[in-house]
Amino acid sequence: MAKKIRVLMAKPGLDGHDRGVKVIARALRDAGMEVIYTGLRQSPDDIVAAAIEEDVDAIGLSSLSGAHMTLFPKVVQILKKKKAGDIVVAGGGIIPPEDVPKLKKAGLKGVFGPGTTLQEIVDFFQKNAGRSR
């Protein structure tokens, strides 16, 4: 059986708006991926624990509330601590351009701000979470 890309989509922190992350989950599904959606208000610890149980290739984080600089790098740190640093982490949402290099430096492989197309996100996961890992 062909290997499937598995992606966990999660919303860390307290913002309660998940329309965007659902649209992206749908796009990844339509691109043939298995998308595990974990819902709202997840702590970085919850997200990493779920990612490990689901043996995902990548995690997609969504934040619209401005907490990304705290929560996104936290996920990367905990993954490393749990010896799961090979799982690719990407983040998106309301992210000011000046934060992008900082997040990449903190270990996020992809950062997607407003205006990103769905195709860019699909391409990112296909390229970075695919077979070459």
Partner: protein
């Protein structure tokens, strides 16, 4: 081109880690099985003989009746009772794109941090019957990880997805009020397979009618066990304890009555038949030019040059050696 799972450790090492309660090893093993890597078969050979101690509970029923929510409540209840609990939650794969949204975890948040709980979402990947081909092999992995109770949640099932009853020890059919009149309930199939029936969302109107209709049609298959019909409002946790009690009672009954051995034999038969069919396909695929022969055969059937059974027999016949 190696899968996530094949990347790192050898099967023997994964099995050893598994036995120490290593969740990452369990997760990888399940991926190996799902991706049908050769290592997976080796792993299952290692762990199968020591499996069989865990109570496997299948939950099935139409989409949206609250199966995931009920499992999350039962999970909490059985953790209080000191049990280690595994969950395999199956959701459908798109027949068009091969993708899937696995959303059962949303209802089971906060359980992942507990070292004695393991939840895994699984896509059907084309397997019929509301399960995935890998589902029960993954159950064996969770047993080896130390889970003594494993819930298997089927895809939201309609009327005829009954395989779960042949493979789990205890089958729970989850319904909700107003999901069909007495005629729907009289029909054969999924409503016959329960060892326990739960009418969830009992705070909605029509619960009494649903419970009464179910109580009439539940078959008396098993002399020693009359399947109960229980009411819950899983989102509020109402009625969950009696469900847990009855699950324990059914496990006790299976063990005391000898019915467990009967069911294990039925399970073995179902699994063997499935594995034989799968092995036949695998052998066929391994023959030279198999894809070309298969395409040719499909073409002959599509153009009505030959019927499907004749073609299948022809393909399975041992190859001539000249």
């Amino acid at each position: 081109m190696k899968s996530r799972a094949a990347r790192a450790e050898s099967p023997a090492k994964l099995v050893a880690s598994l036995r120490t309660g290593d969740k990452r090893a369990a997760a990888r093993l399940i991926s190996l099985i799902e991706d049908d890597e050769p290592e997976a078969r080796e792993v299952l050979r290692h762990i199968y003989r020591q499996s069989g101690r865990a109570h496997i509970v299948g939950l099935t029923g139409p989409p949206g009746t609250g199966k995931s929510t009920l499992i999350s409540r039962l999970l909490q209840e059985f953790r209080k009772r000191g049990r280690n609990v595994g969950v395999i939650a199956v959701d459908p794969t798109s027949p068009f794109t091969g993708g899937a949204i696995l959303g059962d975890r949303v209802r089971m948040a906060d359980a992942s941090l507990d070292p004695n709980v393991f939840i895994r979402s699984m896509a059907t990947r084309g397997y019929p019957g509301g399960l995935a081909l890998a589902t029960f092999d993954a159950v064996r992995v969770l047993e080896a990880l130390g889970m003594d109770l494993v819930f298997v949640e089927t895809v939201g099932a309609g009327q005829s997805e009954v395989e779960i009853a042949k493979r789990a020890h205890t089958t729970v059919v989850v319904e909700m009020p107003a999901s069909g009149d007495a005629i729907q309930i009289l029909k054969a199939g999924i409503l016959e397979i329960g060892d326990l029936y739960v009418v969830n969302k009992c705070d909605l109107g029509g619960a009494d009618a649903m419970v009464a209709n179910l109580a009439i049609v539940i078959p008396d298959r098993d002399k020693g066990w009359r399947p109960p019909v229980l009411r819950t409002v899983a989102s509020e946790g109402t009625g969950v304890k009696p469900v847990a009690d009855r699950l324990e009672a059914h496990w006790q009954y299976l063990n005391d009555s000898g019915e467990l051995a009967v069911r294990e034999r039925a399970r073995a038969e179902t699994e063997l038949r499935g594995a034989l069919a799968e092995a036949a396909l695998r052998r066929l695929a391994a023959r030279p030019a198999s894809e070309r022969r298969l395409r040719g055969a499909i073409e002959r059937i599509a153009r009505r040059r030959a019927d499907v059974r004749t073609v299948a027999e022809g393909l399975l016949r041992p190859r001539q050696t000249h």
